[in-house]
Amino acid sequence: MSESLIEATAARLFGNLVSSRLLAASEQGVFAAEAWRAVEEAGLPRALVPEEAGGFGMAMAEALTILRVAGKHALPLPLAETMAAGWLLAGAGLAIPDGPMSVAPVTRGEALVLARRDGGWHLSGRATRVAFGRDAGSVAVLAVHQGVPMVALVPAGGFAVTPGTNLAREPRDTLVFDAALAADAVAPAASGVDAAALRALGAAMRSLQMAGAMAGLLDMATRYALDRTQFGKPIGKFQAIQHNLAILGAHQAAAGAAALGGAEAVGEGLRVLPIAVAKIRTGEAAGLCAGLAHQVHGAIGFTYEHGLHYLTKRLMSWRNEFGNEAEWSLLLGRHLAAAGADRLWSEITSA
């Protein structure tokens, strides 16, 4: 994985912030507020926001690579979600608040309803599996009004939270909205931005996080194999372990390539096919790499104390979020089948 300047910066920051203690506390439901402030001070949550709206003005593909680094460190913060919220809000021309944010809805088939009321708006509906919903200072919501996708900014308090978690005990909450919003808290989404686009952005983000987590696994597992001695030599000298690490290495490399392809596609107007590829390929690699990393680590990797599980549990969760491999494969496969056999190759090369 070649590293850009922004990635190097993020790696230094996250490396300093994230400890086993922080991760364990986060699993207990304690929001890492101090770490969040440091990340916010570095400006990272606004990485997808254009310069004129208070962001860096960085190319989107490059900005998104921050999430690969976050994934590698299992950063227990709503960085991806706040970036996505900022992108939604900036696209709609809405002001972007400070503080952690999230986006909704994220689950297929869910929709929120906006209605005009008293010169302002009223938002209602239910959104499940909202990442860090309980910790968000505000949530950027996508809702349709009279056929037009609208973006609304809803501050905490504008929704009721029922807590839930994923396998890594990251918050994945159910939010029930029933809120009056001021007229200027709602605006039409940027052109082309709708529920499918938000889902695609989420898929691209999780792909990058997964690619980072797998790079972390490769690093941890290889180091462990060089350290741990059994039968009189480091286990990394056994051909079977070498092969396991080689396979892990190959799949994480593919995941990294696919995820970067997805990030580029976000920058090119959210081209959906490379994002599908990214989520399919990283999702498939996730389980495989997690399994191999555990196999190399043996019993120690199965303990809470050892940090391996912070990465493997995230991988086992993230691959299901914003559409699993089957969902995206079905979309991609149907597209290719409709194009037909004689266009298969040209579809793949132009996707």
Binding site: E27, R108, R129, G164, T165, N166, L167, R172, T229, Q230, F231, F238, A240, I241, G287, A290, G291, H294, Q295, G298, A299, G301, F302, T303, Y304, E305, L308, H309, T312, K313, M316, S317, N320, E321, N324, E325, A326, E327
Partner: protein, 381 residues
């Protein structure tokens, strides 16, 4: 002719009557158990349940009656085991003792040890744990460093055992440690350690990645064990432990750990599944059907007094692969964001089993160790 012999399983018609009896018992005894609790499989702990199983005569089934056993066949015992696993019964209070510690006592224990312990096990009242692994001795058991030094009237034990499942709940540990001067396999012995009465043992939880407490670190600090606790012959520990491991690996728990994911998936998918789901269900069931046959063949070997070490390794190799594959396929057949706290039965079952799955090919011997044993069976080592 290089081959890996697998005899057809002996037929055992009486086992099928027993099967119905076990099912009737379990449907009542487990009525209140949630799918997520059932998914704990043989790690579920419930001493009251184990006592009930003992009262039914389903622990120590193949042992002589004089030691509280029931002198039934290994095939009948096999039926009880697989029914317990398929139903998700909380068997951990008696499982290890029934599977390996009891048989070990029968083989190498003194008459006194047998008389004292075996009936308690058979009643479901004596839980065992296995003190084999150590911090620097996982797959490489011969690197064990815990040592028992002979003293007046017994031995003094020092050292640390790790990954000891259930030590915090168990009554006894079968301790494997060094007692002599030899290197590696030599100079090792086994002891029957009473965890309730022995001084100098501290048990610290080693939490699993789920936060669950199954494993422990067990530290022996000048712990005195009496002479009578030596199990088998002094210095014969390696041979004893090797045949104990064949027992440890011989059961259906090596391929049924994910069975409840299939059950719950079938419930979600319903009676008219998609082609894709039906094919997956059919394929998994064909694998389980075949592994059951192979596993009954292993039971037949136990019944005949043969060593099923190689055959058990083959079943475990295939079974672990299947157990790990089932949740990976299931999650793609039923769209689901897994969560341990989900009140959806499928999601909760899938979550727990997905998190445990990486350990299936570690516990009871890693995949590398199993494949090495099979290679030895092929004459390659």
């Amino acid at each position: 002719m290089v081959d890996l012999p697998f005899a057809p399983p002996p037929s055992c018609p009486e086992a099928e009557d027993l099967r119905l009896e076990v099912r009737a018992f379990l449907s009542e005894a487990l009525a209140d158990r949630t799918p997520a609790q059932r998914a704990e499989s043989w790690q579920g702990h419930d001493p009251a349940f184990s006592r009930k199983v003992g009262a039914k005569g389903w622990i120590g089934m193949t042992w002589p009656k004089e030691y509280g056993g029931h002198e039934r066949s290994a095939l009948e015992r096999y039926v009880v085991l697989e029914e317990m696993l398929a139903a998700g019964a909380p068997v951990s209070h008696h499982w290890i003792a029934d599977r390996q510690s009891g048989p070990l006592l029968l083989r190498v224990g003194t008459e006194e040890q047998r008389q004292e312990i075996l009936p308690k096990i058979a009643r479901g009242e004596a839980m065992f744990c296995i003190g084999m692994s150590e911090p620097d001795s996982g797959s490489d058991l011969s690197a064990a460093r815990t040592r028992a030094e002979p003293v007046q009237g017994g031995f003094v034990v020092n050292g640390t055992k790790l990954w000891t499942s259930g030590a915090h709940q168990a009554d006894y540990m079968i301790l494997f440690c060094r007692t002599g001067k030899g290197q590696r396999h030599e100079g090792t012995s086994q002891f029957l350690v009473d965890l309730q009465t022995t001084q100098g043992i501290s048990i610290r939880p080693v939490r699993a990645l789920t936060g669950e407490h199954h494993f422990n670190e067990v530290v022996f600090t000048d712990a005195f064990v009496p002479e009578g606790s030596l199990l088998g012959k002094l210095g014969d520990g390696w041979n004893q432990v090797t045949s104990e491991l064949a027992y440890e690996r011989s059961g259906p728990e090596r391929f049924l750990s994910s069975f409840l994911v299939m059950t719950e998936m079938l419930r979600v998918i319903g009676p008219e599944p998609s082609e894709r789901a039906a094919i997956a269900i059919g394929r998994f069931s064909a694998h389980i059907h075949t592994l059951r046959r192979m596993s009954r063949s292993v039971a037949g070997m136990l019944q005949a007094g043969e060593n099923p070490g190689l055959q058990a390794a083959l079943v475990k190799e295939l079974g672990n692969t299947l157990e790990q594959e089932i949740p990976e396929i299931a999650r793609l057949l039923v769209d689901c964001e897994p969560s341990l706290e989900s009140d959806d039965a499928f999601a909760a079952t899938l979550s727990l089993i997905s998190l445990h799955a990486p350990s299936f090919s570690l516990r009871g011997g890693t995949r590398e160790i199993m494949r090495g044993m099979i290679a030895r069976g092929l004459g390659l080592r």
